[in-house]
């Protein structure tokens, strides 16, 4: 019954296995957006986050709750592994023939009345959206939670042009009103607890619209009710909405938005104009691919059998919903990632956030330390690929992992994150990113490549061992970063070779 599962690490799963195949040509990397320029490397940012005990408590509670929910609904499906394979194959098919499927998607969208725009980078995408909004002569837009528009910092670009962009997802609203940054893909305000949220609503809602009720408590139901009332007037008057898309089906020209609260439906249905910013990797080849994806995404993401609301639309539907429909197809570094035969599997990501919730590193540091809108294990592989490994934070991200492998097991589209992390570490070292480590490794290679040098080094080590005796080595000059959290084992007083020579002399034993 269960279809065969490809061997892990099988290169055929990511692209051609043909060693004579043509070399790939990479597109340009993404420019780091203004918010994240000058971010410190991960360990420094993480140290600040780790000192915030309230945040650590919130994160522990949230990640463990959602982890248990996911495990329960995944266990309901005996065919889960086959679904993961089908999901990975659907994305690989789209990614390895992306040009063809993008053209098909464009043709089907255009045939159904949508206007398709193409954006090489964030700046171009923002300019396109701004031009459409300006033509409508409005000073505000309502927004559905979207990773792509966060990535390009569309809100900041609109606000600089005097246009208010209202986030309508409850968590995004909490982040926006709190002048804060999202820390999780799915639940961006995961680092805030209920009393913090009550404070934010009470102080900030009145500044931008209907104020929070004066008797607001920190009951989640009351807080959600305050958001409902605050946002309803915005939904009813908005003429332009901006969204992303979870999937874009090439053979029907259908965009799909998966959500819970109904804010997505409000934005996708009520305004006259709808602008959807869609990463080029969101394409699915066929309608039938939704059969796997609509099982994989909700169960991995919120741990539900199905999310409360999913909206699908294909261009303009006469007499129903927005009659002015735009789709902006965004590259912004994706064509760079695509050129790496191993790394391109990261573009399968459907932004479910299951890898964040199972990650022992994310659970403790939270999302802000990753220096990007994509935190957690997927961020640790995606950011250095999208932006290159030149900045401090991008150089350090491949090391923000214990390589425990929980992320790969949880990933609904089988992205082998640990494998990519190791690959990226190699790249960072080759580029001279981690100099102390690469000097040490080069020295080790020099010593180990010659038996005389090795014997000399071993002699030096055992001499040191006899000098140190039973004391513990707490730190080594020049290795502070390594030894400040670890004790070093005391060198032995004798090596195996020395022992053999002592016991057996030169009687033909190992040389």
């Amino acid at each position: 019954m269960t279809p065969p599962i490809p061997a892990e690490g099988d290169p055929a799963a990511y692209g051609s296995a043909d060693p004579t195949a043509a070399p790939t040509v990479a597109g340009p990397v993404q420019r780091t957006s203004a918010t994240f320029i000058g971010m410190p490397k991960f360990p420094e940012a993480a140290r600040v986050a780790l000192a915030n005990t309230q945040q650590r408590r919130n994160l522990h509670h949230a990640t463990h709750t959602i982890r248990a929910k996911r495990a329960a609904v995944v266990d309901e499906l005996p065919q889960w592994e086959a679904l993961r394979v089908a999901g990975a194959e659907a994305k690989d098919e789209a990614l390895t023939h992306l040009g063809d499927y993008l053209e098909q998607l464009e043709a089907n969208l255009t045939a159904r009345g949508a206007v398709v725009h193409w954006a090489r980078d964030a700046q171009e995408a923002n300019a396109i959206v701004l031009e459409i909004v300006r033509a409508k002569e409005v000073d505000e837009v309502v927004k559905v939670k979207s990773m792509a528009t966060q990535e390009i910092e569309l809100n900041e670009a609109l606000e600089a042009a005097g246009i208010n962009a209202w986030e309508t997802d409850l968590a995004e609203l909490i982040v926006q009103l709190g002048h804060d940054r999202p820390s999780h893909i799915l639940v961006p305000a995961i680092h805030r607890n209920r009393s913090e949220i009550r404070e934010i609503f009470s102080h900030e809602m009145g500044k931008v619209g209907r104020p929070a009720p004066s008797d607001l408590t920190d009951e989640p139901a009351r807080l959600a009710e305050a958001a409902r009332l605050h946002l309803r007037e915005k939904f009813l008057r908005a003429r332009v909405a901006v969204s992303g898309a979870n999937f874009a089906v090439a053979d029907t020209g259908t965009l799909v938005v998966v959500e819970s609260e109904g804010n997505g439906r409000m934005c996708l249905t009520l305004p006259e104009t709808l602008i959807s910013v869609v990463g080029i990797e969101k394409v699915l080849p066929t309608w039938d691919d939704l059969g796997a994806m609509l099982q994989l995404l909700p169960r991995s993401s919120t741990g539900e059998r199905m999310n409360p609301y999913t909206t699908m639309w294909s261009g303009v539907h006469e007499g129903d919903g927005p009659q002015d429909v735009h789709v902006v197809l965004l590259d912004n570094g994706r064509s760079h990632v695509l050129a790496d035969r191993l790394g391109r599997q990261a573009l399968r990501c459907i932004r479910c956030s299951a890898c964040l919730n199972v990650c022992p590193v994310y659970e403790r540091t939270g999302g802000h330390a990753y220096g990007s809108v994509y935190p957690g294990p997927i961020g640790a592989v995606l950011n250095p690929q999208l932006r290159g490994t030149t900045s401090d934070v991008d150089k350090s991200l491949p090391y923000a992992s214990s390589l425990c492998g929980a992320c790969f097991d949880a990933c609904p589209v089988r992205i082998n994150i640990p494998e990519l992390l190791v690959e990226l570490r190699g790249k960072v070292v080759e580029e001279g990113g981690h100099t102390a480590e690469s000097v040490a490794m080069k020295a080790a290679a020099w010593v180990l490549s010659d038996p005389k040098r090795l014997a000399g080094a071993q002699k030096a080590a055992t001499t040191a061992g006899r000098v140190i005796g039973k004391r513990t080595i707490r730190s080594v000059p020049g290795l502070g970063a390594w030894t400040n959290a670890r004790d070093l084992p005391t060198p032995p007083t004798e090596t195996f070779r020395q022992w053999w020579v002592r016991e057996h002399g030169d009687e033909g034993g190992p040389r």
Binding site: V25, E93, A227, P308
Partner: protein, 230 residues
């Protein structure tokens, strides 16, 4: 070079190593969980819809109107909007009990906001997930109709309920008339954004009532469905 041509050239250059044509890669078929039987599928559907805190009611075809009227009364609704193609039989009793407004008279979102409830038919139900899908034909109305009013009563025929997701996707595959807008609904609007605690009712209808119509020997519900104006 235009942005379009440049991006297409970039993505083609990036996969220059791939020599196989589209559609030739390995594709593992997505297999439905088979239905153990019609009754079991309906039971699972009701169980999963209820698990997401929607109300599930069963009705014989002749009782649908009475159940709709009762439900609206129970939830204190004074006005209800109905799509133009809804089965008139379902409405006879309601019309004498409260204000029934046809879809065409409630033109704007603000108008809809003043209506208490909406009654619709549906396109497909999915048992394994407790989902109802609307394809917004004449018996379901335009999308805004089932979004703005706070109570949604959704009537589904037993033969519209499939067991698993892939079969539903197959039934909803666009036909020659092109794709329809779709709304997949699994329970009432909900959020878990505050400390992962689930709260029902944010922006969409806070009350969802699903009426499952089971055929009896007195008449198939399909006949009722087709009797309504298309």
């Amino acid at each position: 070079m235009s942005a379009r041509d440049e991006i297409l050239a970039r993505v083609r250059g990036a996969v220059a190593d791939v020599t196989t044509p589209p559609g030739s890669g390995p594709r593992t078929p997505v297999v439905d969980v088979p239905s153990p039987g019609v009754a079991e599928t309906l039971e699972l559907f009701a169980e999963n819809v209820a698990d997401y805190r929607a109300t599930v009611l069963r009705a014989a075809p002749a009782d649908v109107g009475a159940i709709i009227t009762d439900t609206l009364r129970t939830h204190g609704c004074r006005s209800v909007v109905v799509p133009t193609g809804l089965d008139r039989e379902w409405l006879r009793e309601v019309e004498s009990a409260l204000e029934v407004r046809p879809e065409t008279e409630v033109a704007t979102a603000a108008d809809l906001s003043s209506v208490d409830a909406v009654v619709t038919a549906s396109a497909v139900g999915i048992a394994t997930t407790g989902t109802i899908v609307l394809d917004h034909r004449a018996d379901q109305g335009r999308r805004a109709l089932t979004l703005v009013p706070d109570t949604h009563i959704c009537v589904i025929r037993a033969d519209q309920v499939v067991h698993d997701v892939p079969e539903a996707v197959g039934r909803l595959r666009p036909d020659a008339d092109g794709p329809r807008p779709l709304t997949w609904i699994s329970g009432p609007s909900a959020t878990s954004d505050i400390e992962l605690e689930r709260v029902e009712g944010v922006h969409g209808p806070r009350t969802l009532v699903v009426v499952v119509v089971t055929a009896t020997e007195h008449g198939s519900p399909a006949e009722h469905h087709e009797a309504g104006p298309a």
